[in-house]
Amino acid sequence: MNAPVKTLEERKTELQGMGDSRLRKEDARFIQGKGQYCDDIKLPGMLHMDIVRSPVAHGRIKKINKEPAMAIPGVHAVLTADDLKPLNLHWMPTLAGDVAAVLADEKVHFQMQEVAIVIADDRYIAADAVEAVEVEYEELPVVIDPYKALEPDAPVLREDLAGKTEGAHGPRDHHNHIFTWEAGDKSAADDAFAKAPVTVSQHMHYPRVHPCPLETCGCVASFDPVKGELTTWMTSQAPHVVRTVVSMLSGVPESKVRIISPDIGGGFGNKVGVYPGYVCAIVSSIVLGRPVKWSEDRIENISTTAFARDYHMDGHLAATEDGKILGLKVDVVADHGAFDACADPTKFPAGLFHICSGSYDIPTAHCSVKGVYTNKAPGGVAYRCSFRVTEAVYLIERMVDVLAQKLNMDKAEIRKKNFIRKEQFPYTSAFGFEYDSGDYHTALEKVLDAVDYKALRAEQEQKRNDPNCPTLMGIGLVTFTEVVGAGPSKICDILGVGMFDSCEIRIHPTGSAIARMGTITQGQGHQTTYAQIIASELGIPSEVIQVEEGDTSTAPYGLGTYGSRSTPVAGAAIAMAARKIHAKAKKIAAHLLEVAEADLDWEIDRFKVRGNEEQFKTMADIAWAAYNQPPEGLEPGLEAVHYYDPPNFTYPFGIYLCVVDIDKGTGESSIRRFYALDDCGTRINPMIIDGQIHGGLTEGFAVAMGQQMPFDEQGNLMGNTLMDYFLPTAVETPTWETDYTVTPSPHHPIGAKGVAESPHVGSIPTFNSAVVDAFAHLGVTHMDMPHTSYRVWKKLKEEGVQL
């Protein structure tokens, strides 16, 4: 009996390809406690490493006494910079062209800096030994404020750079100056400002924050002295680049270094860098010939590994009286901490900050960013964003609000007036970015309709006029554009390696497949979504497609997952590799069906002979034939590799609106409504997109409403535990409403733009805009984050708001 013939729709649905809200393949292990994270790895003979850290933020190391620690039974070694010197490993290169101390070399530059390591039988003994190491410091004057760091008589922080007037990014004009980077046309912008009838300026500080994934950083390094091979499991968002760095540092050939990123408990930029802990664990394993585990604790995580932001920005807009923007100028002082360890493409020390002209058609623009050393931990990573795009979006969205207030214009109106119009795409900004596609007006109208913006404004007006109203109501509106998917390797590289990404797909004889990628998931669901792209391209059910990432010995070289580059870059590599297979499959199908390739049509999962419905070969038939009877002249097998170098970035955008009610008595903010419309181009898995957006909005909420890393004058970080550092719980977190439009990227093989970071980037200025809007009728144009109840309460008092 013949099986019932499936309809086209049924065949398509069975594939669970692009557009399907397919449940996640990775979940089965996680819900049963069977994930394998770094700290879950246990090797025979494994030792534990722990780190002795500096209590002072700036000081000279006078003496280190290891003896009391060495005397503890179960302690194998205590190593300091002096022990690493003969190996030339006491300093290491950073991603930003600077060097960073692996273990403090004579001097400490920030509180909690790594001073020595101990290796012991277990983590408890290691912790005891850390306490037992005696270090004497001579304290030096501390510089926390980057403006003060640039004063002529400011203490010299980096003595190792004495006399170096040329940094990795141009001249240094002060001992604490790292670089000054500029983009745009200064004279054109100055000219526009000189002639403009209206100008506005605003100073703002984007506070130092930390990505704080729930899993901290760590690794297990295992050096096999017999084979000379080094295997390291590591919480890394970029294992291939790490392998290159490790090989360069250790001298072990890259072919003998294997970096494995196992399951990762969230990254958000925190796991891009190469930290002293990793390097020390690797060195220890090589020296001791035994596996060594290092697991950072939360205090160490927040205090030392990869902060984000800390931008002090002065924004200026020039405009006509009716609100058409004529020019933008931005000056930034960027606090990079003690070492310049920003994770940015080499040529961009301020990342892609020059996307700061936003969604607007601004004819002239200039920005300058000055990087400065201070006595704080190094970092400067992209916390759930593309390189410095969060800062850029915050700046422009704030400035547009400030201008609207000055001109007494509505926030939506001023945006409509200045948007890059649909027909202007591809659009080249004054900073030189070529925006691929967008339709901002349609998206904005959709949001304004959905929330009934007019009614909200009317309600606000009425509440402002009612002295008995217990709350201040604010409406925040943000219309952002991101630049993601770094990037074209002609302009973007990390340590000289172009920022392409890669995919290798192999179809097995029985029609199932394995795909390996140079990226690494940290919760984004690559194992699910990547398979969906292949399913749609090749007509193989997602269910039988295995996706593997993170093992440098099996996966093709890729630059990793950060900056929303997985879908824009690796996603494209998948489609291109699949298309190579598709082309070969067509040859095999033609051979099997004894027709010319030109006579074949592709339909979901098969090639059909045109005009003869009965004659077809499915991808499964073809896979079998590829290993069994390939046409003459064609090599057997069915696989392909593609290294995708994107022709351009992608430019996802979104329109976010937030309504906040602020208690006049307590300063508490309650987010009444948050409406997020995202346009990430082609949508691969709507369920996962929504999940990513919920998560990003929640992180944005945390940044805007509570996260900060304050330092006292001595350089003590005031609050480096989860007791102080704000991570919202289910109670504070608002309920999110999501929506979308679809404007595919014209240059991307499947039209996708990337999404996971938009909600973080876009929501932060939205919350800010809402809180400031609640005070706008009092003449307030800006308030720095975070909007904790206490800070908002102080503002209420300052403005004389009565209950």
């Binding site: 449940l23 996640r24 990775e26 979940d27 089965a28 292990r29 996680f30 819900i31 049963q32 406690g33 069977k34 994930g35 394998q36 994270y37 700290d39 879950d40 246990k42 277990d122 983590r123 408890y124 704080c212 994934p213 729930l214 899993e215 901290t216 399951d263 990762i264 408990g265 969230g266 958000f268 697991s295 604790d297 939360r298 205090i299 940290q522 919760g523 984004q524 669901g525 369920m687 996962i688 929504d690 999940g691 990513q692 919920h694 998560g695 990003g696 909005l697 929640t698 992180e699 535990t721 989860l722 007791m723 991570l727 719980t729 289910a730 109670v731 977190t733 309920t735 999110w736």
Partner: protein, 163 residues
């Protein structure tokens, strides 16, 4: 370091182990018993990724000594599924996309499991408050709340089917 014998019922099995008196329960589970489902995310009892169930209460295993569990019944995420059948909370987290990186998931599941034992039909507010000792950096909680609601329905259906 002084070692002590600890007897407990761990996921339905009676066990007897020699432990250092200062060993935290989470390290005992993860390193001595090789149950790595309970994770570690802080050292201040804030994040809840280490949550397990002890004698019918949710407990943060990072601030509990293994020796305190002597004579107790301890359940971890590995003991949630029975006879190869997933528990309703596990099913629901999967179906409602209640997890992303999965790091908070074992703790979330254990807290949700206990929450639904204590309150089989919670409101959204009760769920949010009930989960407030468990942080998640990935999901924004919305789908987790949905998952707990869905698990409540599943459990009630099971209950009425067996009644």
């Amino acid at each position: 370091m002084a070692k002590q014998i600890v007897k407990m019922n761990l996921n339905g099995q009676e066990i007897e182990q020699l432990v250092d008196s200062r060993t935290l329960l989470v390290h005992f589970l993860r390193e001595q018993m090789n149950l790595t489902g309970a994770h570690i995310g802080c050292e201040t009892s804030q994040c809840g990724v280490c949550t397990v169930d002890i004698d019918g209460e949710s407990v943060k295993a990072c601030t509990h000594l293994a020796v305190q569990c002597d004579g107790c019944e301890v359940k971890t995420v590995e003991g949630l599924a029975e006879g190869g059948v997933l528990h309703a909370v596990q099913e629901a987290f999967y179906e409602e996309h209640g997890l992303q990186c999965g790091y908070c998931t074992p703790g979330m599941l254990m807290t949700s499991y206990r929450l639904l034992q204590d309150n089989p039909n919670p409101t959204e507010d009760e769920i949010r408050i009930g989960l407030s000792g468990n942080l998640c950096r990935c999901t924004g909680y919305q789908n987790i709340v949905k998952a707990v609601k869905s698990a409540a329905v599943k459990l009630q259906q099971k209950e009425s089917a067996t009644a």
